[in-house]
């Protein structure tokens, strides 16, 4: 019965309201490049980090609330703006936005992580689906940034690092706002240098962080500096 009502409803609307098809806006891609220094990051490949060598096995993080600004004014705000960047999935490294806005804007503003409102909004699909492995099952909340790997150099052989940075409540909200100045030469490429991050992080005593709290909060503060608009 409900299906019949739906069809009837659609026919009525269709017969009495003219629908004008809207041409889709031209889109462009923002290329997220995960790097290790000047090189592209490759998972499960040896990476020199100070006096040691390590491999990164997992790197995933959320980018959300993407906005483009011109002269401090927001000229584009992405709807349903949640993207899971996954080093293992090349297609996730392309963010499709409006071309016109990218060309006219002088700054890109985004968030690393998921806002607190979304964290308390229940089950959501797409990149926010709990099957993505970025939601804590034992305690509500998204993992904003996930980095896992291990050392293979003799000095630290076998020592692993598991960094699940999350938490959305005060005083340890790990969500990070970032503003990136647009490069006039090449506006579509943003790099995230993981070497810079690991060189700082590996001096920490504890490289197993898997819950919200002070440690997660402190490490999350390092993330915005890693994002650059490539020249």
């Amino acid at each position: 019965m409900s299906a019949i009502l739906r069809i009837f409803f659609c026919l009525l609307i269709g017969s009495s309201i003219s629908v004008s098809a809207k041409a889709p806006s031209p889109s462009a891609e923002i290329d997220m490049r995960l790097t290790w220094g000047n090189d592209l990051l490759k998972l499960n490949q040896p990476l020199i980090c100070g006096h040691d060598t390590l491999i990164i096995e997992t790197l995933r993080f959320y980018i959300s609330t993407i906005e483009i600004l011109k002269d401090e004014t927001v000229v584009f705000k992405e709807k349903e703006s949640y993207h899971l960047i996954d080093a293992e999935d090349p297609s996730s490294l392309l963010l499709i936005l409006s071309k016109g806005a990218i060309e006219s804007g002088d700054r890109l503003r985004l968030t690393i992580g998921i806002d607190s409102t979304t964290n308390v909004s229940g089950a959501i699909g797409g990149d926010l689906d709990p099957t993505k492995g970025m939601y804590w099952t034992w305690q509500s909340g998204y993992i904003n940034f996930k980095l896992e790997g291990k050392y293979i150099s003799e000095r630290k052989k076998g020592k692993d690092f598991i960094l699940h940075l999350g938490g959305y409540t005060f005083p340890y909200n790990t969500v990070q706002a970032v503003t990136i100045k647009r490069s006039p030469m090449n506006p579509f490429v943003i790099t995230m240098d993981m070497k810079k991050f690991m060189e700082t992080v590996q001096t920490e005593d504890n490289l197993h962080i898997m819950s919200p709290g002070k440690q997660s909060f402190e490490l999350a503060k390092l993330l915005p500096e890693l994002l650059l608009n490539e020249k």
């Binding site: 009502l5 409803f9 009525l12 964290n119 909004s121 229940g122 089950a123 699909g125 099952t137 509500s140």
Partner: protein, 347 residues
């Protein structure tokens, strides 16, 4: 113009019909607070509720297909776990806590004994993935359901396409859980003016209002918060409650205040099922409270009741049993799974 007016009239009619349909699937009793759950993000639909019910009773959701949600949340005991002090999961692994009763969840703002889960939709992730409970992963559940004969068709009926995602599994489970409403106990009949308490029950009710209502507030019989009710920590379990989630010293030994509805059937009591009888609970409140800085202020002096008062209070608590909820035909084992069992047995 006339056509557009006609469309508007029909549209309003359809919206009213939709709202009425939602009301039939879920009701807020008179004088109850507004539910905390945002139904607009997950509107109830009969096919989704039924799918959620089937998922709730299907052990396929566990790693070795032996444990379903209903293994710990039994319908005839208000969806509580009565035959163990602490619930057990796959491979007979025993957890640290007793599975709480499930009803009136639309009003809850947090879930689990420590309030770790902030939304009903996300609650199922915890038992599904815990190694001592169902030992699976939500990704694993998605794959198993997609590979099954039954579920693609059920998801098609519920959603209009057969895609199975983590979001859909969790939301359909929520839909079934939201329909578990209990508000037709003898107490409720008295409150509606349909019946009257006996003298003993009335006396018990007065004692309840004086001594228990601040935490077990009417009509939900919980203040929906966390409290330290003076339980000494179990030396072997070392379960300190909400502090394990927040790391805040002020949350030490605080646990969610459970609803007292259907308490006749939701034994054993407390987060670790340490008390088998209501008399033991009342004895704890009168002489077993452990003082601490986080103890609820209302319990500093304990709850001092003589034997007759305890008996009267228990008589009142028994009026909170809602048999229409306990034996509701829409909440029990689904026929779809019974048919499957018969087919399996005959092979």
């Amino acid at each position: 113009m006339k056509n557009k007016i006609l469309v508007l009239i029909i549209l309003s009619g359809l919206i009213s019909a939709f709202r009425l349909k939602q009301e039939l699937l879920f009701q807020t009793p008179m004088k109850w607070p507004k539910p905390a759950y945002d139904f607009s993000k997950n509107p109830l639909k009969k096919e989704k509720i039924e799918l959620g019910r089937i998922l709730f009773y299907d052990p396929l959701l566990s790693a070795n297909s032996t444990i379903s949600c209903a293994s710990c949340h039994s319908p005839y005991t208000a969806f509580a776990h009565v035959d163990h002090s602490r619930s057990h999961g796959i491979h007979d692994r025993i957890g640290k806590r007793n599975a709480p009763a499930l009803f009136n969840l639309a009003w809850q703002k947090s879930f689990m004994w420590d309030g770790a889960i902030n939304h009903l939709d996300m609650q199922a992730l915890a038992p599904i993935s815990h190694p001592d409970e169902m030992g699976e992963s939500i990704s694993g559940v998605v794959k198993k359901l997609a590979d099954s004969e039954r579920y693609p068709t059920l998801f098609l009926k519920a959603f209009g396409d057969s895609a199975i995602t983590g979001e859909r599994i969790l939301k359909t489970l929520s839909q079934f859980l939201l329909t578990l409403e209990s508000y037709n106990s003898r107490y409720d009949s008295v409150k509606r003016g349909e019946k009257v308490f006996t003298v003993q029950e009335e006396n018990g009710y007065r004692l309840f209002q004086k001594n228990c209502n601040s935490c077990h507030s009417e009509p939900l019989f919980t203040n929906l918060g966390v409290e330290n009710n003076g339980l000494p920590v179990d030396g072997s379990l070392r379960d300190y409650g909400r502090i394990l989630i927040t790391s805040a010293a002020s949350d030490s030994m605080k646990f969610k205040v459970p609803s007292l509805r259907n308490i006749e059937f939701t034994y054993p009591y407390m987060h670790d099922g340490r008390f088998k009888k209501l008399s033991q609970v009342l004895n704890h409140y009168s002489s077993g409270i452990e003082q601490s800085t986080t103890l609820s202020p209302q319990l500093k002096q304990g709850i001092q009741l003589d034997d007759k008062e305890k008996t009267d209070l228990i008589a009142f608590l028994l009026t909170l049993t809602d048999r229409s909820f306990l034996f509701h035909p829409n909440y029990g084992f689904p026929k779809a799974l019974i048919s499957e069992q018969k087919t399996t047995k005959s092979k």
